[in-house]
Symmetry: D2
Subunit: 347 residues, 4 copies
């Protein structure tokens, strides 16, 4: 079986990683690649690391009309604001669409406006899209054809805290999330603060108290627990290419809950999930890099009666391209692991 | 004026940085260098980056007897547990001693045991030592001759939160400290997890809920506010050589406190402190590296009514060697800035 | 078809990379893993990045007897000196053996002694082994069952210069090879000079004029051209995990040879080779990392009439694990590209 | 004694490093700072790592008229082509000028055109400037008031080979220079190939056979030996912020010359030079970073009868800002080491 797919926004880091994974995917076949400013250029110039086995070697424009009729699934790797209309158009043409971007992640127009500071351009479309975090919201993907793949930070954070919140083991009040990301998460934009000279040998927090992934995390918690909560979310850029660590600190609900109790709850929650491993040590981002896995561990601080839950992912795989393909697998009726790496590379 | 000084434990990273700074210090003159396993080796083999102008070119043993009589100040850069006795002996010989290590940081035997899991070997000595964080506890240094220089993490954390706690602007309950350190903080030990292959391109938390700097932070808060508190402290190693960032998240005490209110309080607290800069942007560790400065900023998360206070230092300068020299300056009657860099290097 | 394979020396970097690639290989199935000091430990502790789909989850000892009878191919990732005897024993048991190490790379006992400073322990065995660089010496692999996979530096250097030497375009006299390697090439040994603190933000040459890969490069040239030559080879460690660049500078044989002439010769030589790409720009190591490809370009310095040929590989893939699997594919009658990545990852 | 100085082009990496060193210089006092696009901005925004003790806190424009009359020395850290006119104007006003840029490095208009591909804009001015590499051409600085500080690559290369060429120990024919630079050498420009995502974990050669520092190296050799030579020069960017290594491979002139012979010659040449250390091991760039030192060692490849001479510097200190200040010290009659670091930092 071969399913024809297209990738729009193929020139960025997430787009490139999507191509790399799709190229060895046994069921999907790349039929079209689109880009914005890089349209017209050979793929090997834009991604010299890629040497695709298939026949598509040049980037076309990022428009819906250029996507061939026989394409069944379209992946969108576009900047914020750029996928709303094209996603709607492609859905209207009957395509399955998996959006790696942020335009359709929010469940309501109000949440979208809270996160992005402006009204959604096509609010009536929002309800057609499902939030594609299969380990937590897998049933939402049944019969879906439009999927908004979560952001990298929310993926790591929600996988860490949702099972414990659902089981009433921790409280979302005073939940503090500190998150550390490799620089590829910031994309390929030409900014002075992303130069090697600005990044190497340094670390910084950014968008403190105002990052748009905070409302997305709050939405994920609300979807899972039907509780509207407020969390503190402080993201940081650290001097590495890939990888992400989310530290989630929250009060234990019941005094005396043990570390083992937290680990048991997480293991129960993810018993059937091939991409989530609950481990005994603090997870290192390196152990996840290159794979579609999330590694999670939990700790109890006895003195303060707080839980500390730490999760690690590859921001470009489980946090972007890999999760998008996982969702595409599901909505195409394939096993969710098809074509996705369970092992990462090291060193 | 020339003051003769010695450095024991000169072969480690903190010891080497102490030598580098002492060599260009206008008042201190290096008279003796001690080491443990490196004793007998030329300094240029142990620290090929150093080319000292003075006459000491070989490392001697790490013992008190070898320290010449005319030495006035001894810096100790020894591993945990190694400075208690030698520090006491040197003090008994009438030397001024500045310990970069951890043996004399705690104010009470009980706190020492909480932090290090065993009784202090010389509990009666503890009261002779003062905790050397001049910006917060400068008056303690008046007339002192034995100083325990604080750990790097507590330096960054206490500078960030103490002024706000003292002014009642934030609450220590639910205070969560996430800290990020360059790898030099782990020292020069031969451990597989410190290999380039294990560190580069990765990030990890370590000693979650059990790091010994947590009781030191709690002590610092108690010294300043006379309140015994419990904090969550989660340290991380990130792939850079130097630099440290501490994120401190705590509830605002009074609803409606603004970011400006926090910044004003911090600026008031440090108005006369040449080594602390309160800035408007999130501080980057790079901006502090190479200098003895701490850069601090504060933010308010409106939705959760939390303060987020972020501080950046060079873990080997303000977090170790620089702070030790700053304390030595003070107890020798010099201006505290003597010989210490106010600017860092970049890139 | 499933071919049962074993990996001895599975705990090192090259061993781990071999496992990662074998796990997704469609024909090979891992039946046994051996290690030295790590024997008895679960694989997930030794390589936390790996999550193998197969059934082998624990490392056994590194001995021939433990390799099951139905294993057809054994990969050896052992330190220098450790594979001579075990390789001979496994060959005696009728196994196909692919040695990633250095014990059987040399064609003669004399060359071995030149490279390693001592006689070969089993000189009579040497002639049973072939040097496994398929793009240059593919015919040697016909009917072979014992393969010594080349070193990483020789792989990059020989791919760059052999076609030009064979065609008489450059002269091996005054051939100067400067090579740059990521640190994974030095392996996982606990050495102070491999600590993050020693490696990051620095570069060094090592084993100047005495690296053991120099005789291997000279052998490769002799195998291809029947000329015994002497080359200058200066390797360097640079602060990155993976990747390798070899710069080969040699006099043009015929005045007036153009850059295009060199590129044409290289393209002709590798026209049918899926893993070698001759490109117009200076190859960056990043473009090869993660794949089994070698990227090569050539330049002419008009003023000195020298050729500068630059090649880039992933030292752990084409320079070790990937090339070993490529050789195993060939001696097992599979297509040489089976299970090997043609695209690398970036960033 | 206080000598008033100005820095034009103060916003770049070399300019910033010049400020850092000038701020602690005992004789020079910063009186004016100029910039191009950053003119008008506070210094702390442009270089957040700097916290200058002096009174200048804002960048003015990069023009000669803005330089106050009482300024004695002007440092120019301008892009290629930008210092020719302004340097001439400042010289006409009687200022001492030290140009960190490339406009006045060449000795003749022909050499300039060879290097830069266009005629010098003010060829008559060239003869007023001296090439400021004090260890090799110190006598040229006697009475000079206009100095062109050498490029970083030529500094490292010339210090390595000139003494051996002058003594006839090596031949410039077949001299091959491979050079490795940290990324700060490429400056602060906004280029995609300088993003962290493009640089980290990779290495590349660039401007192969066409880098403008090649003619400068050839000029340095000609100035020292009166011989016009042609060398191969291949520069590389490696993933570190600072530091530079130049490998120089050249035939021995006399068969049988030993390594000791080369080291003795180098030590003789630099016996009185405080900033050059001839060492026994291969120099690591880290050992020079932060200092104004050059570390040099030499090796003999017996089999090919080649010398391999390796030098390490900090590209921003001895390769730029430090060397400029060293030259300024000399032309102002100060000791050449005044205010310059002899030790570097590590890690």
């Amino acid at each position: 079986m071969s399913i024809s797919v297209a990738v729009l926004g193929a020139s960025g880091y997430a787009g490139g990683e999507t191509l790399r994974l799709l190229d060895t995917h046994p069921a999907f076949e790349i039929a079209y690649l689109g880009a914005h400013s890089q349209a017209g250029r050979p793929l090997t110039e834009v991604h010299p690391n890629l040497n695709l086995s298939g026949g598509v070697s040049t980037l076309g424009p990022n428009d819906s009309d250029s996507v061939p009729d026989d394409v069944e699934v379209v992946f969108l790797g576009l900047p914020h604001g750029a996928s709303a209309r094209i996603g709607a158009t492609l859905a209207g043409r009957g395509k399955k669409v998996v959006d790696l971007g942020s335009d359709y992640r929010m469940d309501t127009p109000a949440r979208y406006e809270e996160a992005y500071g402006e009204p959604h351009p096509l609010p009536a479309e929002l309800e057609k899209w499902v939030y594609g975090l299969p380990e937590l919201f897998g049933s939402r993907l049944d019969g879906a054809s439009c999927v908004a793949a979560p952001g990298c930070y929310p993926t790591a954070a929600l996988l860490a805290v949702v099972p414990l919140l659902e089981r009433g083991l921790i409280s979302a009040e005073h939940l503090v999330i500190n998150a550390l990301s490799g620089v590829s998460g910031a994309g390929r934009a030409l900014r002075e603060d992303l130069l090697f000279g600005s990044v190497a040998e340094g670390v910084r927090a950014y968008k403190v108290a105002e990052h748009r992934h905070r409302p997305e995390i709050e939405m994920g918690i609300a979807l899972a627990t039907q509780q509207e909560v407020a969390v503190v979310f402080t993201p940081h850029l650290i001097p590495m290419q890939r990888g992400m660590l989310d530290d989630c600190t929250a009060p234990l609900t019941h005094p005396g809950t043990t570390r083992q109790g937290l680990l048991d709850a997480l293991r129960e929650a993810y018993a059937d999930q091939p991409f989530v491993d609950v481990i005994d040590q603090p997870p290192q981002s390196r152990w996840a890099v290159g794979s579609n896995r999330a590694l999670i561990s939990a700790f109890v601080d006895e003195k303060t009666q707080k839980a500390i839950v730490i999760s690690a992912i590859d921001n470009l795989v489980k946090g972007a391209a890999g999760q998008a393909i996982q969702c595409a697998n599901i909505i195409c009726g394939l096993d969710q692991t098809t074509g996705l790496p369970l092992s990462g590379w090291s060193p």
